[in-house]
Amino acid sequence: MRLQLTLEICHLYPDLMNLYGDRGNVIALWRRCIWRGIEARVTGVSLSSSSDLSQFDILFLGGGQDREQKAICYDFARVKAPQIRKAVEDGTPFLAICGGYQLLGEYYQTGSGEKLPGLGIMDLYTVAGRKRLIGNVVAQSDLAGSGPARLVGFENHSGKTYLGRGVKPLARVLSGYGNNGEDGLEGAVYKNAVGTYLHGALLPKNPWLADWLISQALKRKYGRAEIAPLDDTLELMAQESAARRAAKR
C-alpha cells in the first residue's frame, strides 16, 4: 500500500495580514499539493487562536498595513514568536512576504530613529526610507540548488532591509529595487525560512519556489523530497509577461 502523504499548511493572521493578494500563495501551495495527490489542509491561525504551531508542515505570513501590523504585534511577539522560532530552527518551511518579512528581523527603525524590535528570527534589520519602492521585479535565485532560477514579482515598500551574516540572500535583482535598492539583493533565507518583498502573488508565478517549499516539507516529515512534475505552461507564461513588464520600467 502506498503511503498517503499529508501536509498541514498554516496561514498566519489571514484576516489581518493579507495585502496585495497574499492569499494566492497559500492557494498555490494547496493546489500544487492536491494536483499531486498529496493531501493538504490549510488552517488560518489568528489573534484569538491558541493552535500549537508545531503541528504544521508549512507556515505562511503575508504583509499588512501599519494599523494591522500593530494589531498583531502583541500576540505575535508574546504568543506565537517562541513557537515560530522553534519551528524555523527545526527546519519547518516558512514563507514571509513584505511586512511579514520585516517582522522576522531584529528591528525596524522609524523615520525618527526609534527602533521597534522585531522577532529576531532572521539576522536582518529594516530602516524606514523616504521613497516608496514600487514596481515589477526580476531576480535570480540559487535557492533550489539546480542552477539559477528566475523569480518575478511586484514590490511596494518604503522600508529598506539590510542582511546580516546569519542569513543568505534569496536572490540577486536583475531589474527593480529588492531589499533596499542599493546592494542588489532580494529577500533572505535562514534554514528553510524564506522572506521576500515580492508579491504578485509570488508562488503561482514562480512555481519552482512553491515546489521547493513543498519538497522541503515532505523531506522533513517523510524523509523524501521528490515530487512529481506538473504542467506549468500558464505559470511560465505569466512569469514571462511579468519579466517583460519589469524590463520596461
Partner: protein
C-alpha cells in the same frame, strides 16, 4: 474693471471652445483640455457658468457607481422635462466638469440648462463644490480601490466632507445608509443641509462571504469594532458599533424587493417617505446597479421629481459603455462591464454566474498606469465562483496580463483546458465570439485601458460611436 473681467471670461470661454472644436476634429476623446484652458485664463469661469443653472447642480461621487447613478438621474430628469447638462464622457475632474459647461454655453457665455448633473471624482469634490455650490451631493459608496491603503480611504472620505460647507442652503446630501463610511459623512453636517439616506431591506439579499481584510471594518466614528447583523455585499449591510453606538440609520428610501432577470435587468420595489411602494423595471443588471438606481431615485425624488417621471426615466435608462452596456455584434450580443477593484469584480462575477451559463466570458487585464500597475488584486477576487457554476464553455483571457489572469483561473479550479490565452484584444474578441451560439451573448470584463481599446475595436467596426458623441 467689470468689463475687463467680462472680456477675460469670454477669451477663456472661446479658447476652451476652440480647444474642444480642435480635439473633436482630430477625433480625440480627451475632454478635459477645454475646461483646463478656460480655467487657466479665468479661474472664476466655472462659477460664472454654473451659476446660471435654474435648479443648480447635482454632484455624484463615490468609489463605484458614479457613472451609472448619474446616467440614471439624467434619464429621470429628462423624463421630467428638465433640460440637463451632464459630463457624460466621464471626464470627472475639475477640468472635465468645466469642459461640460464650456461646451454647453453660448458664444456669449449663456447657459440655458435647468440642472447640471456632474459625476465628480472624490478628490475633486472640494474644488468643484466650491465653484458650483451644488443643490445636492450624492455619495454612492466608499470602497478601497486596488492599491489604496486604509489611510487613503479615510482621507478620501475627508476630502468629500470638506466639500459639504459649499452645498447651498437648503441643499441635500444623499447617502448610502448601508455603507458606514458614507454614513459617517452625515454626522455633524453643517446645519443648512438635509440628509437623505437610501438602503436595502434585509430580505432583498444577504451575503455570507467572509469580510475581506481590505474591508474588515472599524467604526468610522470611534475606531472600535463594527458588528453586522446583516450583510448585503462586501461591507454594505446593517451594522452597529459596540463601543460608541454609531449605527446604520433608518433609510428614507428603501429597496423592499428585487427580482433579478440575470443579465437583462431587474424589477425593483421602492418605498420612500410619503410614497406608496412602487415598482420599477430596469435594464441595469445586478445588485450593485439596484443600489445605483435607488441612489438616483432618492436624489431625484428629493429634488422634486414625481413617481411617474421617475418610473419612466428608470425604464428608459440603459447601461452606458463599459457598464454592462449591450452591443449587437452581428447575430450575437456583447455585454461589457469595467472592472477596477475586487469588490466591483466580485459583484459582476456574481451577476454573470447567476445566469444559465450560456454566455461566453472574456477577461481583459491590462496593467497600465490607469489600470493599476500591480495585478496582485486579482488574487482577492473570488474567481472560484466560475469553477463551480459555469459549464464547459471556454473562458478567454486577454490584455497585457492575460497570462496572470489565466493562472488565477487555473488556481481557482477552472479546468486549464477551458482557459484560452490571447493577449491581443481584437483576436481574443473574435475567438470568444466564435464560441457563442447565434442569438447568444458574450460578457467581456476589461480593466480601464482594456475597455478603451475594446471600444476602439468596436468603433472601427462601426458598432459603437466615439464616446464624445454618445
Amino acid at each position: 474693471m467689470r468689463l475687463v473681467n467680462w472680456l477675460r471670461f469670454l477669451v477663456a470661454l472661446w479658447l476652451g471652445k476652440l480647444a474642444g472644436f480642435a480635439s473633436r476634429t482630430l477625433g480625440r476623446g480627451g475632454s478635459s483640455l477645454p475646461g483646463k484652458l478656460c480655467l487657466l485664463v479665468d479661474s472664476g469661469s466655472l462659477k460664472r457658468l454654473s451659476g446660471q443653472l435654474k435648479h443648480g447642480s447635482v454632484l455624484v461621487t463615490g468609489t463605484n457607481g458614479k457613472t451609472t447613478t448619474s446616467r440614471v438621474m439624467e434619464d429621470i430628469f429628462r423624463a421630467a422635462g428638465r433640460y440637463v447638462i451632464h459630463n457624460r464622457s466621464g471626464a470627472n475632474l475639475l477640468g472635465g466638469v468645466t469642459s461640460t459647461f464650456v461646451d454647453a454655453a453660448s458664444l456669449f457665455g449663456r447657459v440655458e440648462a435647468d440642472i447640471g448633473l456632474l459625476e465628480t471624482d472624490e478628490a475633486s469634490i472640494p474644488r468643484v463644490a466650491q465653484e458650483v455650490n451644488p443643490a445636492a451631493l450624492v455619495v454612492t459608496n466608499f470602497f478601497r480601490d486596488q492599491l489604496d491603503r486604509f489611510g487613503e480611504l479615510a482621507h478620501t472620505v475627508e476630502l468629500v466632507r470638506s466639500g459639504l460647507p459649499s452645498v447651498r442652503p437648503g441643499g441635500i446630501l444623499v447617502l448610502n445608509a448601508d455603507d458606514p463610511l458614507a454614513v459617517s459623512l452625515g454626522r455633524a453636517i453643517p446645519p443648512h443641509i438635509n440628509v437623505v439616506y437610501f438602503g436595502l431591506d434585509p430580505n432583498v439579499c444577504s451575503s455570507n462571504e467572509e469580510l475581506s481584510p481590505s474591508d474588515a471594518f472599524v467604526c468610522p466614528s470611534c475606531g472600535g469594532g463594527l458588528e453586522y447583523t446583516h450583510r448585503f455585499y462586501s461591507h454594505l449591510g446593517i451594522y452597529r458599533c459596540l463601543s460608541c453606538g454609531f449605527s446604520r440609520p433608518q433609510p428614507d428610501f428603501r429597496l423592499t424587493a428585487m427580482e433579478s432577470e440575470g443579465m437583462s435587468g431587474s424589477t425593483l420595489e421602492v418605498v420612500g417617505p410619503e410614497v406608496h411602494p412602487f415598482t420599477l423595471r430596469t435594464a441595469l443588471p445586478g445588485l450593485y446597479n439596484a443600489y445605483n438606481v435607488l441612489a438616483g431615485v432618492a436624489a431625484a425624488w428629493s429634488l422634486g421629481v414625481c413617481e411617474e417621471e421617475i418610473r419612466y426615466g428608470v425604464q428608459n435608462s440603459v447601461p452606458s459603455f463599459g457598464r454592462m452596456e449591450r452591443v449587437s455584434v452581428g447575430d450575437k450580443w456583447l455585454n461589457i462591464a469595467l472592472v477596477k477593484n475586487p469588490t466591483g469584480f466580485n459583484a459582476v462575477l456574481e451577476t454573470v454566474a447567476s445566469g444559465d451559463g450560456s454566455e461566453g466570458l472574456m477577461l481583459c487585464i491590462n496593467d497600465n498606469y490607469a489600470d493599476g500597475t500591480d495585478v496582485s488584486w486579482l488574487w482577492d477576487v473570488n474567481f472560484e465562483i466560475l469553477a463551480a457554476v459555469r459549464g464547459a464553455k471556454p473562458i478567454v483571457t486577454s490584455g497585457i496580463r492575460a497570462a496572470d489572469m489565466a493562472v488565477r483561473l487555473k488556481y481557482a479550479g477552472v479546468d486549464p483546458s477551458r482557459i484560452k490565452v490571447e493577449p491581443d484584444l481584437e483576436k481574443a474578441l473574435d475567438m470568444a465570439l466564435s464560441w457563442v451560439e447565434t442569438g447568444g451573448g458574450l460578457v467581456a470584463l476589461p480593466t480601464y485601458t482594456a475597455m478603451l481599446q475594446l471600444r476602439e475595436v468596436l468603433r472601427r467596426r462601426g458598432l459603437v460611436r466615439h464616446f464624445r458623441e454618445d
